[in-house]
Amino acid sequence: MTEATGTTYGVGIGWRPEIAGFVAALPGLRFAEVIAESLAPGNPLPPALAALRERQVAVVPHGTRLSLGGAEPVDPARVRHFAQVTELLGAPLASEHIAFVRAGGMEAGHLLPLPRTREAVDAMVANVNRVQAELAVPLALEPIAAIFDWPDDELDEAQFITEILDRTGALLLLDVANVYANARNRGTDPVALLDRLPLERIGYVHVAGGATRDGIYHDTHTDPVPDAVLDLVTELCARHRPPAVLLERDGHYPPAAALRGELDAIAEASGFPLIT
């Protein structure tokens, strides 16, 4: 089934140096992702990533610090770096977030939600355009998990995301764990959001684990993927089969058998072949 990117990749995993050996040993892997800021485009690729590319595994750069949702124009040096990393990887697409990470000269240290206002849509669209002008491949945008909402929102989440995608032509990086986290913390129905998003615009999908603390569900990326998130993957794929479903794990890495089990569970939930 061909999608916005024209290829189906199946189950993928976020490449991290700590699990490079594990990723290298996945026989069916066709799709991976690397944090864009962790690469230096002036240098050759780290050997582990070069080896993945030799095997024709698609490796997508995932930006985390461009701050595309910031009121300030995105730093041209960051855009240049992002575009160069994308080219170095020969990636079929690149991705970033519907979020901001700095303001007033201070780093937040994490992805922060945007107010869902028309002014924020305009800022996001302007910055996305600046990035797209330097990319030769499509850009996918990921809506994030937010622990709190802004007061005085003008649009709901589905409207906000859809408007940004419509005005930029960008793809959607649908993070199912974020959809789950937001719905759980707001007391809303995650499937209801899926039904209102432009699923045909999905570039790929993220899956990740989290944990509850003080009554709030945190999308930690350092915990196992809950069954409820896997169920949401199944709900999504029943509506629309994405090109790829990628596991994001950022730390507290479990034994290889457990990580393989998670990849198998994602394959089963999405109807994709096993990659282990």
């Binding site: 303001a103 201070m106 937040a108 240290g109 709190f148 007061p151 003080d214 709030i216």
Partner: protein, 148 residues
């Protein structure tokens, strides 16, 4: 909430990382949860650059770091840990393990507390409690040598 997007975003970041008051209309509890989560994440990143500082403080690492960092916006994990270690050293509260780690870093890098740290090109010596730390061409030796 009034103000431009830039103003509103700056006010939110300031309350999250610089101890500024909560902007109107936000849920105090939820923003507090986010603040704590940010500090924990920051502590993990600093611990990666300063493992012996974190290990030396043990169970107290998070509370010591969070107490120090709560109203101080980050300067990056390397500088955050460096600033904290120096402050603890000045107060006589730096565990021995962390003191050696700091001495090794000080021997290998020049840091004025204001601008980005730079590698030293010349050899240097530092003292840490009962040990001496030597840096030559980027390699570190400690005397007395650690027992194996």
């Amino acid at each position: 909430m009034s103000g431009s997007l830039a103003d509103r975003q700056a006010a939110l970041v300031a309350t999250l990382v610089a101890g500024a008051p909560l902007p109107p209309g936000f849920d105090d509890r939820l923003v507090g949860v986010a603040r704590s989560a940010l500090l924990r994440k920051r502590a993990r990143e600093v611990a990666r650059h300063w493992p012996l500082l974190a290990a030396g403080l043990g169970d107290r690492w998070l509370s010591v770091f969070a107490g120090w960092a709560a109203a101080r916006p980050t300067r990056g994990a390397l500088r955050d840990g460096w600033d904290l270690a120096r402050q603890l050293a000045a107060e006589g509260d730096l565990p021995a393990l962390a003191a050696e780690e700091l001495a090794a870093r000080e021997a290998g890098w020049r840091y004025d507390g204001t601008t980005a740290p730079r590698r030293r090109r010349l050899p240097a010596v530092r003292r840490a409690g009962g040990s001496w730390v030597f840096q030559v061409a980027g390699r570190i030796w400690t005397l007395p040598p650690h027992r194996r």
